[in-house]
């Protein structure tokens, strides 16, 4: 009797592993052991074309990995904030940012930049000072990498 149970358990385990292996094959970016992929995108340039290119990269990133499997943050400092200024008058850019936020992407801006460049926070599209501000953009990126976030600067 014990033997039968052992075989049944073994079969169940094997089947379980088998199916999870198949599931993992479907999406190579999802860990078998759970947990999200952690990524930080670094934005410190003001070229609008390049900024939009970055948002496109992020969109494709989400498509490949799946929003629920992803903890993706955009950290802006230096000239990166200009993207939020441009978005005030650029409807397409607005839509892109909003749809990314809906998928759980966080856009964070450096407090040093806000202070240094004397930015008006109300003039930054969708910026929520309570949640979207980090004390130092560079230190935040360093901190995230220490926590296992991959660094991407398209």
């Amino acid at each position: 009797m014990k033997k039968v149970i052992a075989i049944a358990v073994a079969a169940m385990v094997a089947f379980g592993f088998g199916t999870s292996a198949i599931a993992a094959e479907k999406n190579p970016y999802v860990s078998m052991f759970g947990g999200k992929q952690k990524v930080v995108y670094h934005l410190n340039y003001d070229n609008p074309k390049r900024q939009k290119g970055m948002l496109r990269n992020i969109n494709n990133h989400i498509k490949a990995v799946g929003a629920k499997n992803l903890d993706l943050r955009v950290v802006m400092h230096g000239k990166g904030y200009t993207m939020l200024e441009t978005a005030n008058t650029d409807l397409e850019l607005q839509n892109t940012i909003v749809s990314l936020k809906d998928k759980g992407i966080k856009f964070q801006l450096c407090a040093n930049t806000i202070r240094g460049k004397k930015l008006d926070e109300k003039n930054l599209f969708g910026f929520d000072p309570a949640n979207d501000k980090v004390p130092s953009g560079v230190a935040e990126i360093a901190h995230l990498q220490k926590k296992g976030f991959a660094y991407i600067r398209p």
Binding site: G116, S136, V138, A139, A142, K146, R153
Partner: protein, 249 residues
């Protein structure tokens, strides 16, 4: 008078094996600091010793622990002694790297083991400190200024918040121009930053220096304090493997 002291190979070997008494060691450090060839020999001996140790290393057993019940007494004692030897070797290695490192500014460090010495010299930092590597590969003065702004900003931030940190700026390609005496747009600022922040290092790449020479016939003269490493790209990989955060400017 010749400054160089004649040091025999036996002496160097004993030094690497950690068998010298304190006075002998002190004397050797002094001669090492003056003699580049000797430095190289010690590096080679050390890497040789490391390789031998690695080849003969027993399977997972901590250097201090001979608690394995199955091992006969004599064997255990031998493990213990080799453990001490290894620790002494490590301590000597770190100390030599630490002692020699700062003197080797503007001087390339050869060979794999030498590179480890260089890494030590640049990263004496405690493990709990935050380490950030900035990467500059363009000669655009505006981007270079942003790089300096950013690293100064983060140095200030860590100082203000009382966090231990080490910052390194690695330059390759056009980025080297920032650290060349003949081209740097901000030499005074770089010197002032170095003076103010002891945890900041400016680094450039030997490959880039060589390429300037071979492609443009230009000899690079670097600002004082600039450290030269073999390859910028390799350094970036090493640093990330060592737990440094990477930020491209």
């Amino acid at each position: 008078m010749n400054d160089k002291i004649n040091v025999s190979d036996e002496m160097l070997n004993a030094f690497v094996d950690g068998q010298l008494v304190t006075e002998e060691k002190e004397q050797l450090y002094v001669s090492l600091a003056k003699d580049d060839d000797m430095k190289k020999t010690v590096c080679e001996l050390r890497s040789c010793k490391d390789l031998v140790q690695m080849a003969y290393q027993q399977l997972p057993e901590s250097s201090g622990g001979s608690s394995d019940g199955g091992v006969p007494g004599g064997n255990g004692a031998r493990h213990w002694i080799s453990g001490i030897a290894a620790s002494v070797l490590l301590a000597v290695g770190v100390f030599v790297g630490w002692q020699l490192g700062p003197m080797q500014t503007n001087e390339v460090i050869h060979s794999a083991s030498g590179m480890r010495g260089a890494t030590n010299a640049l990263a004496v930092a405690d493990d709990d400190s935050t380490k950030v590597l900035f990467h500059l590969n363009t000669r655009n003065p505006e981007v270079a200024r942003e790089a300096l702004d950013e690293l100064e900003g983060v140095l200030k931030f860590y100082k203000r918040t009382g966090q231990k940190a080490r910052i390194e700026l690695i330059t390759n390609g056009g980025g080297i121009d920032l650290l060349r005496r003949e081209t740097s747009p901000y030499p005074d600022r770089i010197l002032a930053l170095q003076k103010k922040y002891k945890n900041l290092t400016f680094v450039t790449c030997q490959n880039t220096i060589d390429r300037l020479k071979s492609e443009q016939g230009v000899t690079a003269h670097l600002l004082p304090g600039t450290v030269v490493i073999d390859s910028g790209v390799a350094q970036i990989m090493r640093r990330q493997q060592e737990g440094w955060a990477y930020i491209q400017v």
